[in-house]
Structures are given as C-alpha cells and as structure tokens.
C-alpha cells in the first residue's frame, strides 16, 4: 500500500522537476540564441535604423542589400570585391586540408594499432604533442619552411600548414577508435590474402563512419575558423574568409556599416553551422565510440 502512495509522489515530483528542467533549458536556449538573433535582425535593416536607435527592434524596412553588399561589393583591403573571393579561398583551403588530414590520420591510426612496430608509442606520443603546442610558437619556423619550399603566401602552403597541425588530432581520434577494433579481424584478413591497403579500405574504413564524421567536423571547424595561420601565411590572393571578415570590420575609412558586418559575420559562420546541423548527432556518437575503449 505504501508502495502505491510512493509511486504517486514520485510521479508528481517528476512532473515538477521536468517543468523546471524545460524552463531552464528554454532560458539557456534563448540566451544562446540572442546574439544570433541580433545579428540576423540587424543584417536585414538599413544602416540608418541601426545608428538611429534600437538594436533589438525588428526592421521597419526589410532589405537584403547588406547581404548582397557583404558578399560581392564591400570594400575589403583595397578592392571592393565583397567576401566572395575569400569564401572561395577558404573552400579551396579547407576541403583539401580536411580530406588529406583525415585520410592520413586514418592511416596513422591503422598503422599504430594494427601494424605495431618498435617505438610506435613514442611516435604516437610525439604526434600527440602537436595537439598541445601553442601555434604562436611555430609561426616563425613554419614561415621559414614555407619560404624554403616555395609555398609561402599560397593556398597550397596554407593547406600544408593545416594538414601538419591537424594530424595530431586526426591520428588521436583514429588510433583510439581502431584500438578498440579486434586485431583478429586483421589477422583473418591476412590469412584470406588481403594486403595492407586492402585490409584498410575493405574492412576498417567501412566500419569507421562515426569517427570519420567526428574528424571531419573537428577539422572543418578548426580550419575554417582559423585566423592565426590565415593572417600569418596567406598572400593577397589566398586570404581566407576569417581574415577578410576582419579586414571588412576593421576598415577605418568611412562609416561603419554594421548591417554589412553582421551579414558578413553570418556568411563566415554559415558553413560550420551547416556542418554541425547536418552531422552533429554523429559527432557525439563518434566521440563516445572512441572513448569507451582504448
């Protein structure tokens, strides 16, 4: 009998707690969405409405002119090109850099777990070290290296830099994922007559979906959002989106076109947002998969 009473209380408490939980979550969601809302609202207002008063108010006149301007005609540096060429630069840097660092990370993880050799843990430790180096330290040596191999100020140079400094993380992800992977599978495949690469792309890669997604999201976000390497190593023609956005916002001539700046900032953030929305749920799943074992 007392059991029945208890159950009733438990359900009631549960309902109250739930209400609180949802209120709390709603509050936080609103809090985090506020900056995005402000950016969106102000990017579709004429500049006069912003300078004339309320940042929070909805626009009286809706206009997409700031977006058009940010994309194709805003003054960046010396040319009125808008962000478009820099957006293309960023794509040209990010896509190969993510692809190369992910593939190499997967190969590294495969070798470090399934083709172990003397000193492999030390090698892995050294690779891991690159995750902890503050990138400011490597700016000057890297600039020297890029100069020596003739890639300074170019898109391939930036790709190289991002691949080198992404390898630590991609290797870590894949190594942990593959260490939970039964070695007997590799041995069975060896007896079946599959070689090094055949085992990799017929057996390991098809089972690496979650960790590939994690790595791609991680690398894409990091490289897309990179400002330090972009501003240090890019030439005039190879500046990425982040550097261009900075130049747009920091330009000291004329009136500050806040609406254009907001539109530009959203444009710069859009690709990472899309990547997260499309594959975010794999991100958590993949991180868990790697961390359970190994």
């Amino acid at each position: 009998m007392s059991g029945a009473v208890d159950t009733g209380v438990a359900i009631r408490t549960n309902r109250v707690t739930r209400t609180f939980i949802y209120l709390f979550l709603l509050l936080f969601a609103l809090f985090y969405l506020l900056p995005l809302a402000v950016m969106l609202i102000n990017s579709v207002k004429p500049l006069s409405e912003i300078t004339g008063g309320n940042m929070m108010a909805l626009p009286n006149v809706w206009t997409f002119e700031p977006w058009r301007e940010a994309w194709s005609s805003a003054q960046i540096g010396v040319q009125p090109t808008g962000l478009r060429p820099y957006f293309i630069n960023s794509i040209l840097i990010v896509v190969p850099a993510v692809a190369i660092s992910t593939i190499m990370g997967a190969l590294n993880g495969y070798v470090l777990t399934k083709w172990r050799f003397r000193g492999d843990t030390i090698l892995f430790g050294m690779l891991l070290f690159s995750c902890f180096i503050p990138f400011q330290i490597v700016l000057i040596p890297m600039a020297r290296v890029l100069g020596m191999i003739g890639l300074a100020g170019s898109v391939p140079g930036l790709i190289l830099v991002h691949v080198v400094y992404g390898l630590g993380f991609t290797t870590l992800y894949f190594r942990n994922y593959y260490s939970a992977f039964p070695t007997e599978l590799v041995r069975a495949a060896q007896i079946d007559g599959a070689g090094f690469f055949r085992i990799f792309y017929r057996i390991l890669l098809p089972l690496s979906g979650p960790i590939i997604v994690v790595t791609i999201i991680w690398q894409f976000t990091n490289i897309w959002n990179d400002f330090l390497f972009g501003s240090s190593f890019a030439g005039q023609a190879s500046q990425p989106m982040t550097v261009a956005l900075n130049n747009l916002v920091q330009s000291s001539t004329g009136v500050k076109a806040y609406n254009v700046h907001f539109a530009g900032a959203i444009l710069a953030a859009l690709p990472t947002l899309i990547v997260y929305i499309v594959s975010g749920r794999f991100f958590v799943r993949g991180l868990m998969a790697g961390s359970v074992k190994g």
């Binding site: 039964p182 007997e184 599978l185 041995r187 069975a188 495949a189 060896q190 007896i191 079946d192 007559g193 599959a194 055949r198 017929r202 057996i203 098809p206 089972l207």
Partner: protein, 370 residues
C-alpha cells in the same frame, strides 16, 4: 615426413624463450589438439604455423615446403579464431568468399564454392545476413565455412568453442568431429579444455611452460601420462597423485599406501621393474574411476587390490557418486557407481585397479617407465 612438420621450433620474445624446441609431425587427415593451461605457448605455436608470428629458430613445413617467412595467405591454410573474426561490414556470403576474392577466383566459381559450403554447414538461409544478426552458434558455422571454402591443406582452430554456452559447445564439438570424419581434413586445434582434447583428437600434444610434455593418442595420454603434470591436467576429476613407498614382498613390488589412520596398506603393483625401487619413495597416480566398490571393479583387470579407508565426503552427481578420502596425507577422489551404498564417516573396503596405476619419480615427477 608428415603433411605438417614442426621441427626443433623455438620462439623468443627478446631474451625470453616462450617455446622450447618443439618437434611435432602431423600426418594427412590427423586431428592434432594442442592442449595446456593458459600461457603454455599453444596459441603462439598455432600462430607460428599460420604465419602470424615469426619463427625464432627451427623449421615449419607444410607438404614438404618450408614455411619460414612465407606469408600467411600463401601457406594454403585456413584459421578459425576464438572470436570468429567475421567481417562485420560484409554479409555472410561475402565473408565466406572474401578469401577466394583476394586470391582472384572468378565470381561464378566463388558462388559455387559458397553454395557448396553453405549447404554443408546448413547456413544457406543466412547468406545475405550480416554477422551482427547471427547467434553465437551461427557465427561459429560461418567462421568454419570461411575456412572450409578455401579447401586448405591444414585447418587451424584457435579455441573455437570457448565463446559458446555449455550445451552448444557440446553440439558443435560433435559437429566438428563429424566434419573431420567426413572430409578427412588435417586439423590443428588449440584448446585449454582437456575434454575437448580427448574427444576430438586423433593425437594430443599436452603443453606446459613452453614445452611439449607429451605427444600421443588420447588413450596413451590418459593411461600412461609421462609425468605428473600430464597426469593431473588430463582427466576430470584429476588423477589422484600422492606419496607412497615401494615395498618388495614375496618377490613382487607393492605400493605402501597410508589411509586415514596413518597405517600402511600394501597394494600389489604389477609393474615388475619397480622392484628396483625397494624401500624408496614414489608418487603414486591412481585415476578416480579405478577406485571403486568391490562389485564395481573392472572384471577384466588382472590386479585388483583391496584398500580399507574412511569415507570423507560423498557427492552423488547423478551418473556417478564421488567419494572423497585421504590417501598418503592428501585428498583423493574415487568415482563410483551412482547407486553404490556408501555413507560419509564409514570405513569402507575399496577395490583399486592396480593395472591402471602409474608410478612417478618424486624428484623429477617423470613417470617410472615399465
């Protein structure tokens, strides 16, 4: 020269030698079981035959062709792993034919081979499933199918039944034996389970600490163990081994055994050369099933000795009754008929079949050969 020759093979990891000069020759159609406790080197030896581990010294050859340094895929062997090691991303059919595909067999032949094997193992209805959707027994069959389809010279099994539940294990054991009998394949099989070793094999290699302790047919291993380790490892319950002394009386050797009361009783020992051990200590080994009540004694035995002892504990197990007693200061077990009337605490006259008794040198623990 057998089909598979392991001659003088050793394995070292750095300075540590884990396998010491192993010599085994396996003939075509033989079922060799490598058995021993964990860490005895049996799996290492199997991996060396498969080519997954290097050979430190010595030679392994299959069909007269030396295998040292030959890649696993070029040895014409197939292996069934403890975890089955089925490729999770492929269907059962793809799992079975993967090896053929890697060896460049054309597709129609692969399909034929797959269907033949699937029919033999009764997994033809599972071919389009993924391993994750199969039960343990089905996975085991698929793993065997993957080995069979290659038609290899030697099959290697690495504890293939240890992931199954007890009932399924017995069923699969029978099935493996049937398969061996119908196909006449050569099998090397690793297990730590001595019952599996006894039931499946045509020959057993008992291993311990990197040494082959004894190599022989199941009967030889069971009846004439070459040392105390083999005697106690094979058989369940284990052979009773306890200190005793040889006394020559009326020109024949007897084993002097002390029971619960510390009084020596003389059991006539048919092994004549033990007379030379007159007055010396030995270790006496007696299998539990050779200690019975007088009516239950083996009628064909030539030397039944009588032993009066105190019954410690009785354990009726349905098919047998196990009786615990003290012999030579140690616990000993007798395996008696189920319906025998014995009661704990009684003094009972046991019959010991001395034909089956073995004597060991207490210093070396080696069997004193007749």
């Amino acid at each position: 020269m057998g089909l598979l020759d392991i001659s003088n093979v050793t394995k070292s990891y750095g300075a540590v030698e884990v396998l010491h000069s192993v010599d085994i020759s396996v003939d075509e159609g033989e079922f060799l079981v490598l058995v021993g406790p964990s860490g005895c080197g049996k799996s290492t030896l199997l991996s060396m035959i498969a080519g997954l581990e290097g050979i430190t010294s010595g030679e392994i050859s299959i069909k007269g062709r030396t295998m040292n340094g030959v890649h696993p895929s070029k040895r014409n062997i197939a292996m069934v792993f403890q975890s089955y090691a089925l490729y999770p991303n492929m269907t059962v059919g793809q799992n079975i034919t993967f090896g053929l595909e890697m060896h460049g067999t054309p597709k129609p032949e692969r399909e034929d081979a797959m269907n033949r094997v699937a029919e033999m193992l009764q997994i033809d209805n599972l071919l389009s499933r993924k391993p994750g959707q199969l039960s343990g027994g089905q996975r085991q069959r698929v793993a065997m199918g993957r080995a069979l389809v290659r038609d290899p010279d030697v099959f290697l099994f690495d504890e293939p039944l240890s992931n199954l539940d007890a009932k399924l294990r017995v069923d699969m054991r029978t099935e493996i034996k049937k398969l061996h009998q119908s196909l006449g394949t050569t099998i090397v099989y690793v297990t730590h389970d001595q019952i599996e070793a006894m039931t499946l094999s045509t020959r057993i290699a008992v291993m311990n600490k990197g040494y082959v302790q004894q190599l022989g047919t199941p009967k030889e291993i069971y009846d004439t163990p070459s040392n105390v380790f083999v005697a106690t490892f094979m058989g369940s319950p284990a052979m009773n081994v306890f200190p005793s002394r040889i006394v020559v009386k009326d020109g024949a050797p007897h084993a002097a055994v002390t029971g619960h009361d510390g009084v020596e009783q003389l059991l006539r020992f048919p092994q004549a050369n033990l007379a030379a051990w007159d007055g010396r200590e030995i270790l006496l080994g007696i299998r539990p099933e050779t200690i019975t009540d007088p009516e239950g004694a083996d009628r064909n035995a030539a030397h039944i000795a009588s032993l009066r002892n105190h019954i410690g504990v009785t354990e009726p197990a349905g098919s047998d009754t196990f009786v615990t007693m003290t012999l030579g200061g140690r616990d000993a077990i007798a395996r008696m008929r189920a319906d025998v009337t014995v009661r704990a605490g009684e003094i009972f006259d046991f019959a010991v079949n001395m034909d089956k008794a073995v004597a060991f040198d207490p210093k070396t623990e080696e069997r004193i050969q007749p």
